[in-house]
């Protein structure tokens, strides 16, 4: 298999969006391309925009008015704390390539070295491929920011702020950085050497966060009144704003993962648009048929499902593959956020697992199918759809187990340290007043 790897090695560079250009030594030699840099500066802003205010609003609209600020606060503090984690040690643990060698499985296949702690050695003229390393660091940082923020959807309206903050810092260190390393740090990394296709983070971001969300939702327990009284969204207007910003920002996420302003970025943008639209329409159609009416929350959730599912595939599939992925993810996430959740009875408040977990899994698997040139894709990384599916499944399974087990342990530790859940009075008063001494709205004149 090593021989084969060599054969398609150069193609792979294209498929994986040049993500592995962080090869020390070689990197410095590349020349800065202002066009690529321009796009990556923009893409970075777009991905930050996805969290602030995109995801923050998407989630905030879905909770009751008394908890709106607590959700905004969690997203905001994620952006802040993950920034420090990332420059402190996260980036090094994810992208330092010390000790890695193609085809060799060792500790550094799973986690990066500590050579870049506190960005040591990074200057204004350090390069990653054709863009400044500073831009690459910040771009990747925005991914590290949004991932723990996604999890917050699962335990909304009842988790302690301190617990959430502690959990996020530990989780991004112990779970996010290693999985990111396995997928994107280049030859020698676990998923990389397997030939896994994950262009923009279906596994790294969405399955990873989705599974952690499921574990958290189960561990923290249901919200007071769940299943008995209505816990309706307090402002779908805000949720639609957030969903729209997620959509627009996702262009940075997916097309930015090309790390260049080129044909790969262009195709990533196009397929992102197509899959999103298709998933949204699918959700709408299913809901219309099942409940007699199409809903706004339905169509926007469908859009997010499509965005999630196309993420790993966005560098590998063509428009027709995107249509298929959109369609399947719309169906599956609808099932995940309605039927599955009701059947199993957990309270994943904002469907972080139902949408990101399920959508991520659907996307990761279908990437292995629709990347095939025979299906209009840009080419598999392995010899056949079967072999590719094998690689995809290994990475999916590994991530589910890894994130599941470690998220559980981290939550246990946090529970011991500060306690996970607010008390009953605080929950009924609302987290905004109880934890932050503020109110989201104060409409008196």
């Amino acid at each position: 298999m090593r021989g084969l790897l060599a054969v398609w090695g150069s193609r792979l560079r294209l498929f994986l969006g040049l993500c592995f250009l962080v090869v020390p030594g070689a990197a410095g030699a590349d020349e800065l391309n202002a066009g690529d840099t321009a796009w990556m500066l923009t893409a970075t802003a777009l991905v930050l925009f996805m969290t602030l205010p995109g995801l923050a609003l998407f989630y905030a609209g879905l909770v009751r008015a008394k908890n709106v600020l607590s959700v905004l606060m969690q997203c905001f503090v994620s952006a802040c704390a993950m920034t420090i984690v990332w420059i402190g040690w996260g980036y090094s643990m994810a992208f330092d390539t010390t000790g890695m060698s193609e085809g060799t499985m060792n500790l550094n296949s799973f986690v990066g070295g500590l050579g870049k702690l506190f960005l040591s050695g990074v200057g204004a003229d350090s390069m990653t491929g054709t863009i400044p390393e500073t831009v690459f660091i910040t771009f990747q940082m925005t991914f590290a920011i949004i991932t723990p923020a996604l999890i917050a959807g699962a335990f909304a309206e009842r988790m302690k702020f301190s617990a959430m903050l502690l959990f996020s810092v530990m989780w991004s260190t112990i779970v996010y950085a290693p999985v990111c390393h396995m997928a994107w740090s280049g030859p020698g990394a676990f998923f990389w050497d397997l030939g896994v296709l994950d262009f923009a983070g279906g596994t790294v971001v969405h399955i990873n966060a989705g599974v952690a969300a499921l574990v958290a939702a189960i561990m923290i327990g249901k919200r007071e009144g769940f299943g008995q009284v209505p816990l309706p969204p307090h402002s779908l207007t805000i949720t639609v704003i957030g969903a729209s910003m997620l959509w627009v920002g996702w262009f940075g996420f997916n097309a930015g993962s090309a790390l260049a302003a080129n044909g790969s970025a262009g195709m990533a943008m196009l397929v992102t648009q197509v899959a999103t639209a298709m998933a949204a329409l699918t959700w709408m159609a299913v809901e219309w048929m099942k409940h007699g009416k199409p809903s706004v929350l339905g169509i926007v959730t469908g859009a997010v499902a499509g965005l999630v599912a196309i993420t790993p595939a966005s560098g590998s599939v063509g428009p027709m593959g995107a249509l298929a992925i959109g369609f399947v993810s719309g169906l599956c996430c609808f099932w995940g956020a309605t039927t599955l959740k009701q059947k199993l009875g957990y309270d994943d408040s904002l469907d972080a697992f139902g949408v990101h977990g399920i959508g991520g899994i659907v996307g990761a698997i279908l990437t292995g199918v629709f990347a095939s040139e025979s299906l209009g894709g840009l080419g598999l990384a392995k010899e056949s759809i079967g072999a590719q599916l094998g690689a995809q499944l290994i990475s999916v399974t590994f991530t589910i187990v890894y994130s599941g087990v470690l998220s559980f342990l981290i939550l246990k530790v946090v529970d011991v340290l500060v306690g996970l859940r607010v008390n009953e009075d605080e929950e009924s008063q609302g987290l905004d007043l109880a934890l932050h001494s503020e109110q989201g709205y104060n409409m008196e004149l």
Binding site: P230, P232, S295, L297, G298, A337, T338
Partner: protein
């Protein structure tokens, strides 16, 4: 004097206001309320979770009038707010012992 508490449909407010004004009533106080009654509410659906909302939006108009005008006002409100469909609302007549106009300190019917 009587306090008439008139619970009506939101879109009847304008008409009721005019009807009362027509009888020489100079003031009233209005609040948004939620009504529960024979009229059925509606369903809401959020990601597969179906809620039945029993309450329907209503407007409560509180108006204090002299005893002599009370009957006429009741009739006027009824006429203005009636559609004949379930949910038109009610008028409750409550006795009032005293009325004071804060600005002037006037009391009784003069204060209304």
């Amino acid at each position: 004097m009587k306090l008439l508490k008139c619970v009506v449909r939101p879109n009847a407010l304008e008409k009721v206001k005019e009807a009362l004004s027509g009888l020489g009533v100079m003031g009233m106080t209005v609040s948004e309320v939620k009504g529960f009654g024979r009229q059925k509410g509606h369903k809401e659906l959020y990601r597969g979770a179906e809620y039945t909302i029993d309450f329907t939006p209503k407007i409560e108009i509180e108006v204090v009038v002299g005893d002599d005008l009370a009957e006429q006002c009741v009739d006027a409100v009824r006429e203005a707010a009636q559609t004949g469909k379930i949910g038109d609302g009610k008028i409750f007549m409550v006795p009032v012992d005293e009325v004071v106009r804060i600005r002037t300190g006037e009391t009784g019917e003069a204060a209304i």
